[in-house]
């Protein structure tokens, strides 16, 4: 098993944090993992994306050219990356901001992440919703290891945010998981 994941959205949507958590979760499950932040032509403003690989074997380049999974947080990132997703791959899109038309490519799953996040108490945790949904929608990682990884990346920042973030992961998971 070797899965390439691209997570992409506006700056400020927590793209990098989401990728980081997936990596840590992969580590917990004894996988090989890499994380690669990517800056495009636009250094300032515009979209941010990161590339995560989770694998049972050694990982060469940490760069994901043709992702198995795309986590798209907004429209521009969908436009940019969806054509590169492998046919047998899967696209998780934040349907609160953008609802793409179905097309005969990779499987498309909409998650109203902003809405779910708002329900959890803060629109800011939409990234957590998305990785919760990722766990449910791809089975690459277990929800447990994802949840357990949340405190690691927030440690130094604020303990008081653990809860809401974990809740958001669960909410995302539940949205697809059930």
């Amino acid at each position: 098993m070797k899965k390439g994941i691209i997570i992409s959205g506006f700056g400020g949507q927590g793209v990098m944090l989401a990728g980081n958590i997936l990596c840590r979760a992969g580590m917990k499950e004894d996988k090989f993992v890499t994380f690669f932040p990517s800056y495009g032509a636009e250094m300032r403003g515009g979209t941010a994306n990161c590339q995560v690989i989770i694998s049972d074997t050694h990982i060469g380049a940490p760069v994901v050219q043709y992702p198995d999974i795309l986590l798209s947080f907004n429209k521009p990132s969908y436009v940019k990356f969806s054509p590169r997703v492998k046919k047998e791959g899967r696209i998780l899109v934040n349907s609160s901001l953008y609802k793409p038309e179905e097309n005969p490519g990779p499987e498309l799953i909409g998650i109203p992440a902003n809405d779910i996040a708002r329900e959890c108490g803060s629109p800011i945790v939409l990234n957590m919703v998305m990785i919760g949904a990722f766990a449910a929608g791809t089975k690459i990682l277990g929800i447990g290891s994802v949840k357990d990884s949340v405190p690691e990346v927030l440690t130094e920042k604020k303990k008081n945010l653990w809860d809401i973030n974990i809740r958001a992961v669960e909410a995302g998971y539940n949205y697809l998981g059930k």
Binding site: A41, E42, M43, R44, G46
Partner: protein
């Protein structure tokens, strides 16, 4: 009064952060070239810094020189094309750190060019590191506990360069309010006018918002200039040989 974007700007959006001063300064330069009818005579050098993509936004001939070397490149142009308008557009890292020698010698030679110097008190492009103009206690990514004496004093470019005899006009302006922007525009036009009349080296320093580097909101960045920068970098004309 109608306000159309000047011909010296291409009609495309730029990629600077929200609230970034570069956009305003780009426009001021472009408007001034239009108004002085210099657009078709101008060759500009963009810096290595956030404004490296200046050539995407300006509608006049532009090149990108190596980090810090725009004054040398501009000298090369001006010496072979003395009747063109040659400008450099440089950040504080570009001009005052790595390019300190080139700017001093261009100024000292009285090289007949106009330098538009954007002081945002940090290295924007590379992620908000300390610049020569970073102020004491200012937190940047390479002064995580704030700039201290060990890192050196904030460099005051106008004060330093105005000592040099080759300099004909130097002014420091800011772009954080409508009034300041108007004054800034006057300074730009003055510098370009001097160049057109072969008066020698001119420089305008802009105190310019960098909300990203300062980690504040665009609105706060306007106040940041008033509250933090103006004490260290007073506005005004530092030299004017007329």
């Amino acid at each position: 009064m109608s306000r159309r974007l000047p011909e010296s700007l291409k009609k495309i959006p730029h990629t600077y952060c929200p609230g970034c001063g570069h956009g305003i300064i780009h426009r001021l330069v472009a408007e001034s070239l239009d108004e002085l009818e210099l657009r078709e005579k101008t060759v500009a050098i963009a810096p290595v810094g956030c404004a490296v993509f200046g050539y995407h936004y300006w509608n006049f001939d532009t090149a990108e020189a190596a980090h810090g070397r725009p004054p040398a490149a501009a000298t090369g142009i001006k010496r072979v094309l003395p009747d063109r308008i040659v400008i450099t557009y440089q950040g504080d890292g570009d001009l005052a750190a790595i390019g300190g020698n080139e700017i001093i010698h261009a100024a000292n030679r009285g090289e007949n060019i106009s330098v538009f110097f954007v002081n945002n008190a940090c290295y924007g492009m590379t992620g908000g590191q300390m610049a020569p103009t970073t102020m004491f206690d200012q937190v940047t990514t390479t002064t995580p506990l704030g700039r201290t004496l060990e890192d050196g004093y904030p460099v005051k470019v106008c004060e330093l360069l105005s000592v040099l005899e080759g300099v004909s006009y130097i002014e420091r302006v800011a772009v954080n309010s409508p009034a300041n922007i108007m004054k800034a525009k006057k300074a730009v036009k003055k510098a370009l006018g001097y160049q057109a009349r072969n008066r020698g080296f001119t420089l305008v320093e802009f105190l310019s918002m960098c909300p990203t580097g300062w980690k504040v909101s665009p609105e706060k960045s306007l106040e940041w200039i008033d509250e933090r920068m103006l004490r260290i970098f007073p506005l005004g004309v530092y030299k004017d040989k007329g």
